[in-house]
C-alpha cells in the first residue's frame, strides 16, 4: 500500500505540470486583459504599458511561461495583480472556510443520503419508497441558486431563526443554510445510489444465508448488504467532496461565504492571472488527493481490492 501511495503521489507532479500548462495557455487565449481590471474606467495607454511592464506581461509568451514554471519549482504561486497579496496567502485564508462548508455539506449528504437510500431499499415498492425516491429526484433536479434563495426566504426572512449570509466568525448557525443548500444534490444522489446498490446486494447468496440464519431484516440490510454496497457510495462521495473542496461558487455567492470558489470567480472576472493559476493548481492537487484517499478507502472497505492490481475475483 505504501509503495502504491508513493507512486500515486509521484504521478501528481506531471499531472500538475499539465494542469499548469493548460491553464497558462487557456488564460493566454482568453479575451480580456488583467491590466484593464487594475485601472478603473479611465486610463491612458502609457499607464497600461507601465503596468504591463511592471508585471512582465509585455514579455514573450515562452519567457513568461518559463518564469512561471521557475516560480512554481520554488513553490511560489506569485502575487495577485489585483490585491497585491501573495496567492498562497489568499488560498490559506480562504480554504478553511471552504473546507468547513464542504465538510458540513458532505456529512449531511452522507448521513441523510445513506439513511434515505437504505430506508427506500428496505421498503421497496411501498409508498415510503416512492416518496423517498420522488424526493431524491426533486433534490437532484433542484437548482442550487433557487434552493438557496428559498431557504433564506423561509428561515431568515420569514421565521428569522437562521442568519442569511456570512460565516459569522465560525458560529455554527451561519453554516446551516449554506451546508443544507450544498448538500441537497449530493444527498439525493447518494440516496439513489445507496438504494440501487443495496437492492443489488440483497439478491446475493450471502444475504440469503444471513436471512436463513435468522437475522432480522434491518440487520441484514445494514450489517450485510450496506457494507458491501459501500464502494459505489464512496465513489460518489469522493467525486462530490473533491468538487466541493474546489469551492462551490454558487452557494458561496448566495450566502456571501468567503471561500475558495468566490476567490477564484473574482480572479477569473478580473483576469488576475497568478490568482487563477494558483487556485486551479491547488484545486487540482486537492482533487488528486481526494481521489487517492478514495482508492485507499476502497481497499480498506473491500479486502478483494488490491491497490495497483484491480479487484481480485
Amino acid at each position: 500500500m505504501l509503495a502504491y501511495t508513493v507512486r500515486r503521489i509521484l504521478w501528481f507532479v506531471p499531472i500538475l505540470l499539465g494542469v499548469a500548462t493548460v491553464t497558462f495557455l487557456l488564460l493566454h487565449v482568453l479575451p480580456g486583459d488583467p491590466v484593464l481590471s487594475m485601472v478603473g474606467e479611465r486610463y491612458d495607454a502609457e499607464t497600461l504599458e507601465r503596468l504591463r511592464a511592471e508585471m512582465h506581461l509585455d514579455a514573450p509568451l515562452y519567457e513568461r511561461y518559463a518564469r512561471y514554471l521557475a516560480d512554481l519549482a520554488r513553490f511560489d504561486l506569485g502575487t495577485s495583480y489585483i490585491t497585491g497579496v501573495p496567492v498562497w496567502e489568499s488560498i490559506r485564508e480562504r480554504f478553511p472556510h471552504t473546507l468547513r462548508l464542504a465538510g458540513a455539506a458532505m456529512t449531511l449528504a452522507v448521513a441523510f443520503g445513506v439513511t434515505i437510500g437504505v430506508l427506500a431499499a428496505w421498503r421497496r415498492g411501498t409508498a415510503l419508497d416512492y416518496l423517498l425516491v420522488g424526493g431524491a429526484v426533486i433534490g437532484v433536479s433542484m437548482p442550487v441558486f433557487w434552493l438557496g434563495v428559498l431557504l433564506i426566504y423561509a428561515f431568515s426572512m420569514r421565521l428569522g431563526i437562521l442568519p442569511a449570509s456570512g460565516f459569522g466568525n465560525g458560529n455554527l448557525a451561519y453554516l446551516v443554510l449554506p451546508a443544507l443548500t450544498l448538500a441537497m444534490a449530493s444527498t439525493a444522489y447518494i440516496a439513489r445510489i445507496t438504494r440501487s446498490s443495496v437492492l443489488d446486494e440483497v439478491h446475493e447468496t450471502y444475504v440469503k444465508a444471513a436471512r436463513a440464519k435468522g437475522a432480522g431484516e434491518s440487520r441484514v440490510l445494514v450489517r450485510h448488504a450496506l457494507r458491501n454496497a459501500l464502494l459505489p457510495i464512496i465513489t460518489v462521495v469522493g467525486v462530490d467532496f473533491g468538487s466541493y473542496l474546489s469551492g462551490a461558487v454558487l452557494t458561496e455567492s448566495i450566502f456571501a461565504w468567503p471561500g475558495l470558489g468566490r476567490f477564484t470567480l473574482d480572479a477569473i472576472m478580473k483576469r488576475d492571472l497568478p490568482a487563477i493559476q494558483g487556485a486551479v493548481l491547488f484545486m487540482a492537487l486537492l482533487f488528486m488527493a481526494v481521489n487517492l484517499l478514495v482508492d485507499i478507502l476502497y481497499a480498506r472497505v473491500d479486502p478483494r481490492v488490491k491497490l495497483g492490481r484491480g479487484v481480485e475475483t
Binding site: 479575451p31 484593464l36 497585491g84 426572512m157 456571501a256 472576472m269
Partner: protein, 484 residues
C-alpha cells in the same frame, strides 16, 4: 455599530490603488485629502482649512493644525507632498497617477528625470503650494479623489492599509468578508453617535434584501426591480431615500463606423426613451438630453430627439442605411439586458437589426476601448461633481478609447472649447460654456442618449441622521446615530 453591505469586495485600501466604488468609499473614510466632499457634493475643508487661487494654476493651501494621523502624529505639508509623489512615482505604478499629472514637473518625476515634483512646495509645515502646468479649475475637486488622499508614507511598507488621517480607522479586514471601521480618536470631526461601521461583502442582491429585512444591515440600495414594491408600501416610504444619480446611461455608437450623422440621429429618434425610463426605472429616471446630469453646473433642459419612428426611417433612407445591421455589446447584468432588449425592440420597428453581444467586464472593456465594436451600452458616473468630469473624458479626442471616449467622437472645436472651459474661473460663465459644449455634442448624436437613473435606498428604523451622499465619496457618517 452601523451595518452596511458592499456588493463587491475591496481589493486594496490604499489611495494609490483604489479604482472602484467600494475601495473609493472606504478610502475616503480612512484617508483625508486637502479637501473633501459633503453629502450634497459641495467641496469641504479637509486637511486644508482654507485655500486660495487667483488664476486656477497656482493653489495655496493652509493646513488645519488639528489634522492628525490615526497614530497621533500631526499631518504636515511635507506629508501631502510625499503622498502625491508616491502616487506619481514609477516605483508605485499607481493606475490613478492621472489625477495628479497636471501638477508641474509630475511627468519629469514619473519618468525619473527629476527627484521631486517641482510644482509641489511646502514652505512650512502648515502651507502647501501646488502649481499646475496650465490653469485647470476642476483641479480643486479632483483633490478630493482617493488618489489625492494623504497617508503617513512611513507606514506603507508591509502594511495592508497605510495610516491615514480620516475620521475612521480600519480595525479589522477579513478579505472577501468584512471590513470594520472605528473612529480615529484624533480626528476633530469624528462621529460621536456610533462606535463603528461594519461593511459586509454580500454579492447577491436578494441576500442583501434578506439581510436588511432580517435587521442585520441598516442601509439597503434597493435593486431596480424591487423599487415598485417598496414604493407601494406605506410603512416603508418614510424610511426611503431617493438619489438622482450623477450618472448617465447611453448606447455609445462607434462614430467612425457611423459617420453619417443622420444615421446616429435616426437611432435616437427610433427609441421611446421616456417610456423606457418609465417602465424600467419606476418613472423616476430623468430622460437625458445631454451628458451632464442634473445637479451638476452645466446641465440644461433642452429639446431632445423626440420619439418618431417615421422620421427615423426617413433619415435612415436618406442616408442609404435601410436594413442597417449592428452588433451592440453589453456587460452581463440584469439591468443592462432589460435596457438593451427594449432598445433592440424599438430599433427593429424601424428596420434596424441589432444583435446583442453579452460579455463579462474584462472582455467587454477590452473590445469596446479598442473600438472593435459597432455600439455598446455603458454608463458614466461622476468621480467629482463637475461638468468637466463628463465632457473631457467622454468627448475630448485625446481620450478616445480607454480615456473614456469609447464612441471615438472627435471634433476639434469641441476639444478646444472643453479646454477653454476648464480655465474659466467664473462658475456661471463656466457652467454656460459647458452647457454649450454639451449641446453641440448632443446635436452630433455620438450616442443614443438614454437617461440619468435614480436609485432608492432604505434605512432601518434604528438609524437616525443618515444622509445619502450624491457621490460615493461624500459620506463620513458624522451625524449618524444607531439605537440598539
Amino acid at each position: 455599530m452601523l451595518e452596511l453591505a458592499l456588493e463587491t469586495a475591496p481589493n486594496r485600501l490604499d489611495p494609490a490603488f483604489a479604482v472602484d466604488v467600494a475601495e473609493g468609499e472606504i478610502c475616503a473614510l480612512v484617508f483625508e485629502g486637502l479637501v473633501g466632499f459633503a453629502p450634497d457634493g459641495a467641496l469641504t475643508p479637509g486637511i486644508a482649512r482654507a485655500w486660495e487661487t487667483a488664476d486656477g494654476r497656482r493653489y495655496l493651501f493652509h493646513l488645519d493644525a488639528r489634522a492628525r494621523f490615526s497614530n497621533g502624529r500631526a499631518v504636515r505639508a511635507t506629508d501631502v507632498k510625499a503622498s502625491f509623489e508616491r502616487v506619481l512615482s514609477p516605483q508605485t505604478a499607481s493606475p490613478r497617477a492621472w489625477v495628479l499629472e497636471r501638477i508641474r514637473g509630475s511627468v519629469d518625476f514619473r519618468d525619473a528625470k527629476a527627484t521631486d515634483v517641482a510644482g509641489l512646495t511646502a514652505p512650512d509645515d502648515s502651507t502647501l503650494m501646488i502649481e499646475l502646468d496650465e490653469p485647470f479649475v476642476p483641479f480643486l475637486a479632483m483633490l478630493a479623489l482617493p488618489a489625492a488622499r494623504v497617508i503617513d508614507v512611513e507606514t506603507v511598507a508591509g502594511a495592508d492599509v497605510p495610516v491615514g488621517s480620516g475620521p475612521w480607522v480600519v480595525a479589522e479586514w477579513v478579505r472577501g468578508d468584512r471590513i470594520t471601521l472605528t473612529t480615529n480618536p484624533h480626528h476633530p470631526r469624528r462621529a460621536r453617535g456610533i462606535e463603528g461601521v461594519r461593511y459586509r461583502v454580500i454579492p447577491e442582491p436578494f441576500t442583501r434584501i434578506a439581510e436588511f429585512e432580517a435587521g442585520t444591515i441598516d442601509v439597503l440600495e434597493i435593486p431596480d426591480a424591487e423599487v415598485p414594491r417598496y414604493l407601494s408600501d406605506p410603512s416603508t416610504i418614510p424610511r426611503l431615500l431617493k438619489r438622482p444619480e450623477l450618472r448617465v446611461f447611453y448606447v455609445g455608437l462607434n462614430n467612425p463606423r457611423f459617420q453619417d450623422v443622420r444615421v446616429r440621429r435616426a437611432l435616437n429618434h427610433a427609441v421611446n426613451v421616456p417610456e423606457l425610463a418609465r417602465v424600467l426605472q419606476a418613472g423616476e429616471a430623468i430622460v437625458a438630453h445631454g451628458a451632464i446630469p442634473p445637479g451638476i453646473a452645466g446641465h440644461r433642459e433642452r429639446a431632445g430627439y423626440p420619439y418618431d419612428p417615421t422620421l427615423a426611417k426617413s433619415l435612415l433612407r436618406e442616408a442609404g442605411a435601410e436594413n442597417l445591421k449592428l452588433e451592440v455589446w453589453l456587460r452581463e447584468s440584469a439591468e443592462g439586458s432589460r435596457v438593451m432588449e427594449a432598445v433592440q425592440g424599438y430599433w427593429r420597428a424601424v428596420g434596424v437589426d441589432a444583435i446583442l453581444v453579452r460579455r463579462e467586464w474584462s472582455a467587454f472593456k477590452q473590445a469596446v476601448s479598442a473600438g472593435k465594436v459597432d455600439a455598446f451600452l455603458l454608463d458614466w458616473f461622476a468621480d467629482y461633481p463637475d461638468a468637466e468630469n463628463f465632457l473631457f473624458p467622454l468627448f475630448h479626442s485625446a481620450n478616445r478609447g480607454g480615456g473614456g471616449n469609447r464612441s471615438f467622437f472627435s471634433n476639434p472645436d469641441v476639444d478646444r472649447m472643453i479646454v477653454d472651459a476648464s480655465r474659466m474661473l467664473d462658475p456661471a460663465a463656466r457652467a454656460d460654456a459647458c452647457a454649450r459644449i454639451d449641446s453641440l455634442v448632443y446635436a452630433q448624436a455620438p450616442w443614443v442618449y438614454l437617461y440619468f437613473p435614480t436609485t432608492f435606498h432604505i434605512v432601518s428604523e434604528r438609524v437616525a441622521g443618515y444622509r445619502l451622499p450624491s457621490l460615493y465619496l461624500g459620506n463620513d457618517f458624522g451625524d449618524v446615530r444607531v439605537s440598539q
